[in-house]
Amino acid sequence: MKSITKKIILTGSFSVGKTSLISRFVYQSFSAEYKTTLGVKIDRKTVELDNCIVNMMIWDIGGEQKQARVPETYFLGSGGVIYVFDISRPSGFSQITEDIAYLTAKLKDVPVVVVGNKIDLLDVVTLEEVKQIIPVSVDFYTSAKEGTNVENVFTHLAQKMVNES
């Protein structure tokens, strides 16, 4: 089976759970303790699709309030982007549209997956209410704590990258 290597960017505001998603996806673990990521942290994970093996080099970028503040060099050469926001923090929703616009402008033709994390902090009714006020189309709602949809995010992105390459 064909095997390819891709650089993945995991980005978003600070404390939205990017590193926790990686921990869940790569190491199958979760820690409630918050440690801010300084600069960038790199991990790897192989995703096996039906027709291809995707070797993902995942760049977990330290959170910034605006994507425009992330060093541009970190985005260079990336094959896919996972943009994460905190579903339990509506005050941050206003920034999402601007961030997504910035990323798609910077990384033309690169698939961007939008992820609302921390659904475990909301009950079903509140979650449905919150979904109505999110200003962009969200691809996945996840919980790094409980592992909900985490694998799907990365598999979906891997498939998208293979299809578009």
Binding site: I4, T5, K7, I42, R44, M57, P71, T73, Y74
Partner: protein, 313 residues
């Protein structure tokens, strides 16, 4: 008259008898009391003797105390008397310190060291580092002198040849000798896509744990340096780690990271750059759309063929 005299005698005799009888009676009746009285007198006598002894002792003690006070008030006198005692005790302690306090001291020091381990390391690390640095520099100077001396004593044809080469290249004969003693060797070569940090090819004498991660981290470091110093044109060129040096060479759309052990100086860097430049122009495609197994294996195979026996000297 005679009658009167007899009567008087009789009376006198009667008084004597009475007195005798009275005494007798007294001695019978007061026998116990008299004994107690004698005991009491004897006890009082003993007490008096004790008091006299005590009084004498107190007088002597008072004299002693006065002498001691006088000695204390007079330091030289005090010192004369006390110093020998202290010295004797100190000598005893010195002689028997290990037996008397060894265990306690050992335990205390051990506990303190364990408790303050981080502080000790923090304090000692720079000092030890400087000492090691000084020692290495000193030994290196001696080594250089010896090499230079050895060369100076040699007037063989080889020496003249080396001297002529030295004159032309400008490289000292000592440096050449050191190079000969410590061979320069390529340990690893990474060919990395500039923007993505993805590994295009890899060669190593020993298997590295995760070359993909190393390639990505090296790229992140390069990115960080260029962002931190706000210089787009500059690049990180070398990274030193213990006895190894990583040379970073930038090409059109990729860069190489070469780990070299031994003496890795400018001449080595130049030679390496020329070799890597040739290698890149032949074996690394400029337009890469996808990094797959065939690309990676191809570049890696060529790296091994080129650099496995590459002579850097």
């Amino acid at each position: 008259m005679s009658y009167q005299k007899n009567t008087a005698n009789s009376a006198l005799q009667g008084d004597v008898v009475d007195k005798y009888l009275l005494d007798k009676l007294q001695s019978i009746l007061l026998q116990d009391e008299r004994k107690q009285l004698q005991d009491l007198v004897s006890h009082l006598h003993n007490l008096r003797l004790d008091v006299e002894h005590l009084s004498r002792d107190l007088t002597e003690m008072k004299g002693g105390v006065l002498t001691a006070v006088e000695s204390i008030n007079n330091p030289s006198q005090f010192d004369t008397k006390v110093s020998p005692l202290i010295n004797m005790r100190v000598q005893q302690l010195k002689k028997n310190f290990r037996q008397e306090f060894g265990h306690e001291v050992k335990e205390t020091v051990k506990e303190e060291l364990e408790a303050s381990r981080d502080e000790f390391i923090e304090v000692l690390y720079p000092i030890i580092g400087k000492l090691v640095q000084r020692y290495v520099r000193y030994q290196f100077d001696i080594f250089l002198e010896n090499v230079q001396k050895g060369i100076g004593n040699t007037f063989s044809w080889k020496w003249w040849k080396q001297a002529i080469t030295t004159f032309i290249t400008g490289e000292s004969m000592a440096a050449k000798s050191i190079k000969a003693a410590m061979p320069t060797q390529i340990e690893e070569v990474f060919v990395i896509q500039t923007n993505s940090g993805l590994l295009l090819g890899y060669y190593s004498r020993s298997n590295t744990t995760d070359p993909d991660l190393i390639a990505a981290m090296l790229t992140a470091i390069q990115n960080f340096v260029s962002d931190a110093f706000k210089k787009d044109s500059g690049n990180l060129q070398t990274i030193d780690h213990e006895n190894q040096r990583i040379f970073l060479h930038n090409f059109y759309k990729h860069y190489t990271a070469t780990v070299v052990s031994g003496i890795a100086d400018t001449a080595v860097n130049e030679k390496l750059y020329l070799a890597l430049s040739d290698f890149s122009s032949i074996n690394v495609p400029t337009a890469i759309t996808e990094i797959d197994d065939s690309l990676f294996n191809g570049v890696s195979r060529h790296l091994r063929e080129t650099f496995e026996d590459f002579d850097l000297s």
